[in-house]
Symmetry: C2
Subunit: 207 residues, 2 copies
DNA sequence: TAGATTGTTAATCGATTAACAATC
DNA sequence: TAGATTGTTAATCGATTAACAATC
C-alpha cells in the first residue's frame, strides 16, 4: 500500500491515462503497457510507471496492466464513481453555462442548486436545476448537504461569497473566477480560471 | 528587456495579480507593493517579484508599482488586449455552454462559429453564434481566418478533429476533452480538462 | 538617516528523467 | 533462454524560496 500523497502534477495526468485506456477498451483491447500509453500520449514511460505507483494496481511483467482493472482503479482513485453534491454561486454567463453542462454528472459531480442575488434569475430553473436567492443558502444547505461549492461570481465578491459558502458547510471550493481567493486550512480549493489558460495560450502563440 | 521565456507556473499566476490589482484600482488605489499583493493573495513576495521580472515593468522603491501601468502591462502581456479569433468544434453540452459564455470576449477571445456533425445543431445559432457542419470548416476558415480552435468533442474523436482543425489553419488548440491529444511542433496546445480539476478536488477532499 | 521596497543571486526543494534490478 | 516489461532507486533539472545588495 503506497499511501504517500500523490503530487498534484501526477494526479492531473491520471485522467489522461484513464481516457486513453477507456478508448482502448472500446476497441476490444485487454491489456496495455506503460510503453504503449507513452507512445500515444506524449508522456515518458517512466513517468507513467511512477504515476501509477501511487494507485493500487500492479502490472504483469511482459504483459502490462489489465485494462478493466486499470479503469476501475483509476475511476475510483479519481473519485468519479461516487456522486459528490455541489451548489453553484453566480448564475451569470459562465455559471449558467456550467449548469447546462450535463457532462459533469458522469464524472461524479451533481449540481443540486444554483444561487444568485439577481432577481431576473432567482426562482427560475436552468436545465432543470433550480436557482434560489443566495440568502437562502445557509438554511437550505442543512437539507441539501452539498460538499462542493462552484464559484462563478464576479471577481470583486469572490472572497466574500467563498467565505459565505464555507460558513454554510461547503468543504471544497471550485473557483472559476480569476481572483485568487483564500480558504481556511482543511478546506479544499481548486482554481480553474479559463482566463489564465487563455493567457497561457495567447502568450505561447505570440512567441 | 527580459525576453527569457516565462515559466508556465509563473504565467499562470499573473492573472491573479491582475485581478487583485484591478480590484484595488476600483477602490481608488494608485500604487501597490509586492508585499501588499502577497498578503492578500497567498503567494510569497519574492515569488511575485520574480514573476513580475518577466514583464516589462519597474517598480518604485519604497512605493511599489503604479497600478494603472501594472494593469496595462499585464493585460498586454497576457494577450487580453488583442482580439483572437476562434472556432469551436463539438456543440454538445460543454461546447454549447462555452458558446454561451460571453465573458470570454472581454479577455480577447472571440468565437466566430461553431462546428458539429450532428444535424440537430447544424445551421442553428447559439447565443448569436452560427453553427455549421464540420465539413464546411476548411473552406470557411479561408474567410474566417481563426487562429484558435476550441475542442469540445467526445474523447474518441479528439485527435482526429484536432488534426482536421490544424489542417484548416488553426495555430492553437484549446482542448477541453480529457483526452491527451498530440499536435505538431509549432502548434500551441492548451489542455483544460474540467474533469482533471474535479479529480484533484475529489482526491483532496477524500484524504 | 532609517526604513521600506525592488530585484537579483544563491540555496533549497521537489518533480522529472534515466538507469537498472527484478520478474515472467 | 532471450527479451519485454514493471517498478524502484539515483541523477538531473527546474521552480521556489531565502538572502541580500541597491535604491530612494
Amino acid at each position: 500500500m503506497n499511501s504517500n500523497k500523490i503530487p498534484e502534477p501526477a494526479l492531473r495526468r491520471l485522467p489522461w491515462y484513464l481516457s486513453y485506456v477507456k478508448l482502448l477498451k472500446s476497441q476490444g483491447e485487454k491489456y496495455v503497457s506503460s510503453t504503449k500509453i507513452a507512445k500515444k500520449i506524449d508522456v515518458s514511460a517512466s513517468q507513467i510507471a511512477k504515476d501509477l505507483s501511487f494507485v493500487e494496481i500492479s502490472g504483469k511483467t511482459r504483459v502490462g496492466y489489465d485494462i478493466d482493472e486499470l479503469i476501475n482503479v483509476l475511476d475510483t482513485f479519481l473519485g468519479f464513481k461516487v456522486i459528490h453534491k455541489a451548489v453553484l454561486f453566480g448564475v451569470g454567463s459562465l455559471g449558467a453555462a456550467l449548469l447546462s453542462d450535463s457532462g459533469l454528472e458522469q464524472y461524479g459531480l451533481k449540481i443540486i442548486a444554483g444561487f444568485d442575488v439577481n432577481k431576473s434569475v432567482v426562482d427560475t430553473k436552468i436545465h432543470d436545476i433550480p436557482v434560489y436567492h443566495s440568502d437562502e443558502f445557509i438554511q437550505m444547505n442543512k437539507e441539501i448537504d452539498a460538499e462542493i461549492g462552484i464559484l462563478t461570481v464576479p471577481s470583486g465578491v469572490a472572497q466574500e461569497v467563498s467565505d459565505y459558502m464555507i460558513s454554510g458547510g461547503i468543504k471544497g471550493v471550485w473557483n472559476f473566477t480569476p481572483f485568487r481567493i483564500r480558504v481556511p486550512s482543511g478546506i479544499v480549493l481548486q482554481n480553474t480560471s479559463l482566463y489564465a489558460h487563455l493567457a497561457v495560450m495567447f502568450n505561447r502563440l505570440d512567441s
